[in-house]
């Protein structure tokens, strides 16, 4: 059987387009070409049906770009995104639209991802109506069902987003995504902006929905404990590359890559014993000019000469456990 999703050697580059004068200057060598950010650098990943894959990393690691490429909001510069073994480009127009509709995204900030001038009824109901999943006559019922499923009171359908609290707004975002009956959700920092007690409510909602609707998730977060809780498998990214991936229990008990180990070590814990914070040195390098070889080598306590020149391949280090580090050789 084909995987629900396969990302094959995907790269995504961002650059600023030159104007005509700049292009001329570049052509005759008066000006260097505009810098290129490699937000994703040869990333491969598979997600099985019904699986929850967590993607962790710090700012600039490309985790959001990856989510957007999968959701179809960005086009990959290289490589292929396969849905059940097929590329969107190889499908008929109708199949491609259906495949895209199957993947929905939930964003970090519910207040900026909801139109402030639309009522909740319209926010949730517009897409299913357009795609013919319901009729104008049955729309009210349809919207009510979506709201109930996300833990919202259907009697509030005629209100505007600003009349809801942050947690409720996130529920509106979830109801909107589920209204087109997707089987895969991409959650990009979806609980990061919420208070702890509300965060637990939303995480529980994600867990319940997974059970009820057999959803597949890509769960993007910088928060290791959230990812540990919800994921079956975890992918760690650093500066546009996957550095390690493993089933959740394996990754948290036997981290292989020095970066993963550092992340786990520096995770603040509730252990009330006074402890000393020890930090890995250095800044996250700019993705405009990432270090040569292994991107992590300037901050890695175990870096050797080889790490400076040669990019480590993502290789198997155990059952379903892959890591990109020269130390494994």
């Amino acid at each position: 059987m084909n995987d629900r999703l396969e990302i094959r050697n995907v790269s995504k580059r961002f650059t600023r387009k030159s104007g005509i004068v700049e292009r001329g200057a570049e052509y005759i060598g008066l000006k260097a070409p505009n810098p290129v950010v490699r937000a994703l650098d040869d990333v491969s990943l598979t997600v099985a049906q019904g699986e929850v894959v967590g993607i962790v990393g710090e700012s600039g690691c490309g985790k959001s770009t990856l989510g957007r490429v999968v959701a179809g909001l960005l086009k990959a510069s290289e490589g292929a995104v396969l849905f059940r073994g097929k590329r969107l480009e190889d499908m008929s127009a109708r199949d491609a639209e259906a495949a895209r509709l199957q993947v929905q995204m939930i964003f970090q900030d519910p207040s900026s991802s909801l139109n402030p001038r639309q009522r909740v009824h319209e926010i949730i109901g517009a897409a299913p109506l357009h795609h013919g999943l319901t009729t104008a006559r049955e729309l009210d019922d349809y919207v009510s069902r979506q709201m109930e499923r996300s833990g919202l009171d259907p009697s509030m359908a005629r209100r505007f987003p600003h009349q809801f609290s942050g947690g409720q707004r996130q529920r509106i975002g979830i109801a909107r995504a589920l209204a087109v009956q997707p089987d895969m959700l991409i959650c990009d920092e979806s609980v990061a902006a919420l208070d702890v007690s509300i965060q637990a409510q939303i995480l529980n909602l994600f867990l319940d929905l997974r059970e009820q609707l057999d959803l597949t998730y890509i769960f993007i977060s910088h928060d290791l404990s959230v990812v540990e809780h919800i994921s079956d498998r975890v992918v760690v990214m650093y500066l546009g590359r996957v550095v390690e991936e493993a089933p959740v229990a394996e990754l948290f008990s036997h981290p292989n890559h020095p970066y993963t180990r550092a992340l786990l070590l520096e995770r603040p814990s509730l252990d009330p014993v006074q402890r000393s914070f020890s930090a890995i040195e250095g800044e996250i390098p700019s993705p405009l000019s990432p270090p040569s070889g292994c991107h992590f080598h300037p901050r890695c306590p175990l870096a050797m000469e080889r790490c400076r020149v040669e990019r480590p391949e993502l290789r198997s280090v155990g059952t379903r456990h892959k890591s990109a580090c020269h130390l494994n050789d």
Partner: protein
């Protein structure tokens, strides 16, 4: 020994002709020199307002309307604006969440840092510059001489927060109030900042109030903890005691809802409902609509009372710990 900071019955309200709205009330804190206290709460709990009230920085229409803020025995509320300016930034410093809004984007770092020194002390330019350089070095900024000539936008987020901390350290304050200073930072950078602050508090005996929504950040940093809910202190005591055995149902619920305390993949224990808004406070104990053990008694406001070595504002303390 007198406490460095002693706050008694602090109250801050929004004052208007239609009646006052209470933002925080009945705040009591005690902090000795070199002590670190975590002030924890969710958005709208009044933790930032508490910090700003201590600093005398609440803006109209809000106003501190009651209580005492004793800094080394002297009530800050009784001081004139001029007197408080000589303390603020000098003896008590503040670090904010977003360093970009703390720093002036059009001035070089050295200008901004020397300005602070000169506002409080008449020393030569050279001496002020040297102090700025030493402060940058102390927070781990490499080659501080060169970096002093840079503008804020030339620093990364973590480096900017270090600069903000360096500015707070310039006058060797006895108390630093830090309002969510690591919330916007990445995990590895947050750990770096925490390790700097921890070292400074230890080595220099600076007292610290660390305001945060994240219990796990202060768990390893603070000796004492104050948990705030809806503008009041719900529970206050030693960090180790509170985390091992929370007695307020809210503290208990907060700790229990953390993913780290739940079985992987299982439903999280959650606190139902949402935090009330200041304009629409429930009667009595503000937490009662969300509390499982609430009774008729909770419709009258519970007092903040000493219970088992801590202060607790609850009629029905949690008897068995959430962590057991």
């Amino acid at each position: 020994m007198t406490a460095l900071l002693e706050i008694k019955g602090l109250k801050t309200e929004v004052v208007s002709a239609d009646g006052n709205v209470t933002l925080i009330a009945d705040i009591n804190l005690n902090l000795a020199a070199g002590e670190v206290m975590g002030l924890v709460g969710e958005s709208g709990s009044g933790k930032s307002i508490t910090g700003l009230s201590i600093m005398g920085l609440v803006d109209k229409p809000a106003q501190v309307t009651g209580g005492q803020i004793l800094f080394k025995g002297q009530d800050l509320r009784k001081l004139s604006e001029r007197e408080i300016r000589s303390i603020r930034g000098n003896r008590i410093a503040m670090i904010f969440q977003d360093p970009m809004s703390t720093l002036n984007p059009v001035l070089r770092i050295d200008t901004q840092m020397m300005e602070v020194v000169h506002a409080h002390e008449a020393i030569s330019k050279q001496a002020a510059w040297e102090r700025a350089r030493d402060a940058l070095g102390m927070v781990g900024i490499p080659s501080p001489e060169e970096r002093l000539r840079a503008y804020p936008h030339q620093f990364s987020g973590g480096m900017r927060q270090r600069v903000a901390i360096a500015i707070a350290l310039l006058m060797s304050p006895e108390l630093i109030i830090a309002d969510e200073p690591t919330t916007a930072l990445d995990v590895t950078i947050q750990a770096q900042i925490l390790s700097i602050v921890q070292k400074l508090a230890r080595d220099r005996g600076t007292a610290l109030i660390w305001i945060t929504h994240d219990l796990s950040v202060v768990a390893g940093l603070a000796e004492k903890l104050s948990v705030m809910y809806a503008g009041r202190i719900a529970e206050q005591g030693l960090t180790a005691d509170l985390l091992r055995r929370p007695m307020h149902p809210y503290t208990n619920g907060l700790i229990a809802s953390l993913p780290a305390h739940n079985k992987r993949g299982s439903r999280l224990k959650q606190i139902s409902g949402t935090t009330p808004s200041v304009a629409n406070m429930p009667r009595g104990c503000a937490f009662h609509p969300r509390c499982a053990s609430a009774t008729q008694l909770c419709l009258s406001p519970p007092p903040l009372e000493p219970v088992e070595g801590r202060l607790l504002r609850c009629f029905h303390p949690v008897t068995e710990g959430a962590l057991s």
